[in-house]
């Protein structure tokens, strides 16, 4: 089975702090992509960062970075210098090609940045 698990339903930090969101996944595939999506109250789904499974170097996008541990099937998201606009639901996901292309999501983590 292809699954994604986000063990933190909610998190809350103060503005300017660093926060790490956890994600683990399970797949027998060797080639896949990993993603973090952000969903603000507007309901829009916004891609935050992506990682190719065959690349060992962790992806970085400005204040967002990942810690990708392929053997442990772990893909955490670190947000540095958090801002009020980072308040949102965050979803971890992976895309696989298993005869068919599928995009599988985790349960989500609700992140609140407090002023």
């Amino acid at each position: 089975a292809q699954t994604v698990t986000q063990s933190q339903p909610e998190m809350s930090v103060q503005e300017a702090e660093t926060v790490t969101l956890s994600c683990t996944y399970d797949t027998s595939e060797s080639n896949y992509y990993l993603f973090w999506y952000k969903q603000p109250p507007s309901r829009q789904m916004i891609l935050v960062i992506r990682q190719e499974a065959y690349k060992q170097q962790n992806a970085t996008e400005n204040r967002f970075s990942v810690n990708f541990q392929k053997a442990a099937k772990s893909f955490s998201l670190k947000i540095s210098d958090s801002q009020l606009g980072d308040t949102a639901m965050y979803f971890c996901a992976f895309m696989i090609w298993q005869g068919a292309q599928k995009l599988v999501f985790g349960q989500g983590t609700r992140l609140t940045i407090n002023p």
């Binding site: 829009q44 068919a100 599928k102 599988v104």
Partner: protein, 116 residues
Amino acid sequence: TAGITQAPTSQILAAGRSMTLRCTQDMRHNAMYWYRQDLGLGLRLIHYSNTAGTTGKGEVPDGYSVSRANTDDFPLTLASAVPSQTSVYFCASSDRQGAIRNTEAFFGQGTRLTVV
């Protein structure tokens, strides 16, 4: 470009009635998906299609059907709605082949469906 358009934005539906949620994309993406979003459960895949003329079942397909007559449209039909189908529904698309820059999935704005 518009990207992905879903209609309607929201709907209240009587139990037992049928309804089709519409999804259209203008990016010529091969792959399209339907998800339902429920609190605490994240986005669960209902059905997907990797190319026009083909569809597949996702994690929660029961009570839903889809068709893919062409590349751009991927409607989701509830034949006889039940209250447990109350949810927010998202349509998404991605390019099935190509470099990593094409693997990003693009989402519609969602349809909030309430079955009463």
